[in-house]
């Protein structure tokens, strides 16, 4: 059966009855009650019109939903003009619907009914066709058909029954002959058309739902791609997590998102008999990294309390905990004034809990759904892997540095006077590198180079290194080999190749009278020029076996004097511009030693609570990641 629109459309074609006649059987105002979609009804009505049918759609309660305002004029006119007529149809529908739903509520389209000579009008047929969706009746489609002309006597009686004007009705077309031959309608065809339409409509709704779902999946996939790209090992964790939280929040329905990464591993949540966990998962000191993104009306402390409370209350292995009504949970009721929904996702790797991701409050009126949780989980998994990698990386880096320090300290420790010297030269080199404008990564490399600058001394006999007096020429020439030996030793380590020039040439002089190669001026690698100054500064200000220390002012005077000859003048003036005593004090603290001073009995003893933190300032991920080749 063709679904096309009819070629002529009168002014009021299909009309919903809302507002047409307030007194008529109550019209439906809510779309949800509609037995059939308007577009579908209109299509059926238009197609049926041509066969002389007048269509109307009703609910099972006998309320009309939509009626054809166009079409066979006699029937349309009866509908428009007679309240009794409308009422009569309504009752008919009602009676039919009651029978229909009297069974178990399921019906098939074949359960339709046909009434002939309806309302004592010969030739007037009424077809009642149930509108079925998934075997459940939603309403009734009523089709009227007049298959023969009405004679005057019958018409008069009809008009009496239904309070219609005979003349007016008589004048309605089609009462003429043409309409009868057009009445080739078949109930079976209409039933088929309705069924097809309903099936199409269901399919269409399923597609819409699929498309919604698909669009959401694309958002999620896109987010996961972007987050994976952002999870760069080298970036500052705070900045990284802030970005990930921001991206996730834009796509998810959370008003704010927080990441809490603990310093040590959060313990496995084991509850003892009382149901409490073995230890508080993350106290203030224990949180290494904490970002909150989005609208959050409270401070971090409260967010952390929430996270702890939820974590403690959940099964240790659960991938998430969804709370859509926070005030109703006794352990979270205190947060009820600002928190309504929360999703907590533990960040776990290899069954260890590294922290948590917390999504708080929804942007719209709804709750967090499993779809939202899925999205958050995808992000949380990636973040957990990244955090774990960073932790492992940090562990490795820390171990490497410790090994290195142990090695260097054991070399330095041969002579009690040089104890800590390499550490201090490293510290000073880094500071000087910053002063001359090197970036953070290059400055870190300078630290490493300074730490390693005297590693070649391991190839110099202890007797020479510790000799209190002046060295013979032969002894001196052996000692002078230590930069080359150091370079040789380091040549075996791929990751420090860029530091070798600094180590090899740290005894060169700006005026070209140094060793081993007699390089001069800018021909000396800049790193070597830096280390040279740092080395000499520390050597001058500490006691040696062969001479006493120089107080810092005198050491600085030496530096000033030798700028241009021994030292690069630019680097020297950068150093002279700062508080060198302060710098040296820090360097000693860092190395665990003391800056020798002219004895002052009233001076308070040094305490060095800061050495540990000073040490941590040096150690960072960046210095192990890049090797800078621009010395």
């Amino acid at each position: 059966m063709a679904m096309g629109c009819s070629t002529h459309r009168a002014e009021n074609s299909t009309v919903g009855v809302v507002g047409v006649d307030a007194d008529s059987t109550a019209a439906i105002s809510r779309v949800q009650d509609a037995p059939i979609q308007s577009a579908d009804f209109d299509a059926l009505a238009a197609a049926s019109r041509e066969s002389g049918l007048w269509l109307s759609a009703w609910t099972l309660r006998g309320e009309v939903h939509r009626a054809d305002g166009d079409g066979p004029d006699f029937l349309a006119a009866c509908w428009r003009w007679s309240r009794r007529w409308r009422g009569c149809l309504s009752n008919t529908v009602r009676a039919y619907a009651d029978r229909l739903t009297a069974s178990d509520g399921l019906a098939s389209a074949d359960a339709g009914a046909e009434l002939t000579d309806f309302a004592r009008l010969p030739g007037l047929s009424v077809w009642l066709i149930p509108i079925i969706v998934r075997r459940r009746p939603m309403g009734v489609l009523v089709a009227l058909r007049l298959s023969q002309p009405v004679d005057d006597e019958v018409l008069r009686r009809f008009c009496d029954d239904f309070e219609l004007d005979v003349q007016a009705l008589r004048s309605q077309e089609p009462m003429g002959a043409d309409s009868w031959s057009a009445a080739i309608a078949s109930r079976a065809l209409l039933v088929r058309a309705l069924a097809d339409r309903m099936e199409w409509r269901t399919g269409s709704q399923q597609i819409d739902s699929l498309v919604q779902n698909l669009a959401h999946t694309y958002e999620e996939l896109n987010l996961v791609y972007r987050v994976s790209a952002e999870l760069d090992l080298v970036r500052d964790p705070q900045e990284l997590l802030q970005r990930v939280a921001e991206e996730t929040r834009m796509v998810s329905r959370a008003r704010s998102i927080a990441f809490l990464i603990s310093n040590s591993l959060w313990p496995q949540l084991q509850t003892d008999e009382s149901g409490r966990s073995a230890s508080d998962p993350a106290d203030g000191d224990g949180v290494r990294c904490f970002v909150v993104n989005g609208e959050c009306p409270v401070g971090k402390a409260d967010v952390q309390r929430v996270a702890n409370a939820v974590l403690v209350g959940m099964t240790p292995t659960a991938p998430h905990c969804l709370v859509n009504d926070v005030p109703s949970r006794s352990d979270l009721a205190w947060a009820g004034s600002w928190l309504r929904h929360a999703v907590l996702l533990p960040l776990t790797q290899r069954q260890r809990c590294l922290g948590a991701m917390l999504a708080m409050n929804c942007v719209d009126e709804g709750d967090f759904t499993s779809v939202d949780v899925q999205l958050l989980r995808a992000v949380a998994d990636r973040v957990a892997a990244c955090v774990e990698n960073q932790r492992l990386y940090d562990n490795l880096a820390e171990m490497m540095m410790s090994l290195l320090r142990v090695l260097i300290n054991s070399i330095d420790a041969k002579d009690p006077y040089t104890c800590g010297h390499s550490e201090r030269v490293g510290f000073l080199s880094r500071r000087i590198a910053e002063l001359v404008g090197l970036g953070p990564i290059e400055s870190q490399r300078a630290y490493l180079a300074g730490l390693l600058h005297d590693v070649g001394k391991i190839g110099v006999p202890d007797a020479i290194l510790g000799k209190p007096g002046k060295l013979t020429d032969e002894e001196y020439s052996i000692l002078k080999k230590h930069p080359e030996i150091g370079a040789q030793i380091l040549s075996g380590i791929r990751q420090v190749q860029d530091l070798i020039p600094g180590v090899m040439f740290h005894h060169e002089r700006y005026d070209g009278r140094g060793y081993p190669s007699g390089l001069r001026g800018d021909g000396i690698p800049r790193l070597a020029r830096i280390i040279c100054l740092a080395d000499c500064l520390d050597a001058m200000t500490t006691t040696r076996t062969y001479r006493a220390f120089l107080p810092p002012p005198l050491a600085l005077a030496e530096v000033r004097r030798c700028a241009g000859t021994q030292f690069d003048p630019e680097i020297a003036s950068a150093l002279l511009g700062i508080d060198v005593v302060g710098l040296l004090t820090h360097a000693h603290r860092f190395a665990g030693s003391r800056l020798p001073e002219v004895r002052n009995p009233l001076a308070p003893p040094d305490s060095d609570p800061e050495s540990a933190s000073a040490r941590w300032q040096i150690l960072s991920r960046e210095m192990f990641v890049t090797q800078v080749q621009t010395w």
Binding site: D208, Q212, A215, E219, N222, Y225, M250, D364
Partner: protein, 141 residues
């Protein structure tokens, strides 16, 4: 009240053009769809959309070829385009420069991002934004 801006969406894969057209329709645009470059070219000529969103890899005529042809057609010589491509598939910038392609987006794309891109490109080309029928504050799909 502005008349709705017309957008032509061209893609041989239903899952793409359905997602894109639904998103754009919900935002108040009038959307036409075509499933290959040739159909798109014809629709563009007769309906003159304000913007064309097209896939790159399509049968019969690729998105790039469509863009070139649109430029040559009088009716569509200035119509801006947004091109979608498979991730990792790069198009020669020189080729893009010869057409009116304003943005190239890799797939899978974020439908939300596509919508803001569409609005931006239309703003830049001087067409006003439509008033959507109903949009929740957070943006519905």
């Amino acid at each position: 009240m502005n008349p709705p801006r017309r957008i032509l969406v061209c893609d041989d894969e239903p899952h793409i053009f359905l997602v894109v057209s639904t998103k754009l329709r919900n935002a108040g645009f009038e959307v036409m769809t075509a499933q290959d470059g040739a159909e798109g070219l014809q629709l563009a000529r007769t309906h003159q959309p304000h913007l064309v969103v097209t896939d790159y890899q399509m049968p019969v005529m690729s998105g790039l070829e469509l863009a070139s042809r649109l430029r040559l057609q009088i009716e569509t010589a200035t119509t801006p385009l947004i091109m979608l491509t498979a991730r990792g598939f790069s198009i020669e910038p020189a080729d893009v420069a010869k057409t009116n392609i304003r943005v190239v987006l890799p797939k899978p794309f974020s439908p939300r991002e596509l919508l803001t891109t569409v609005q931006r490109v239309l703003d830049e080309s001087g067409a006003a934004r439509p008033v959507p029928a109903a949009t929740a504050a957070g943006g519905s799909v």
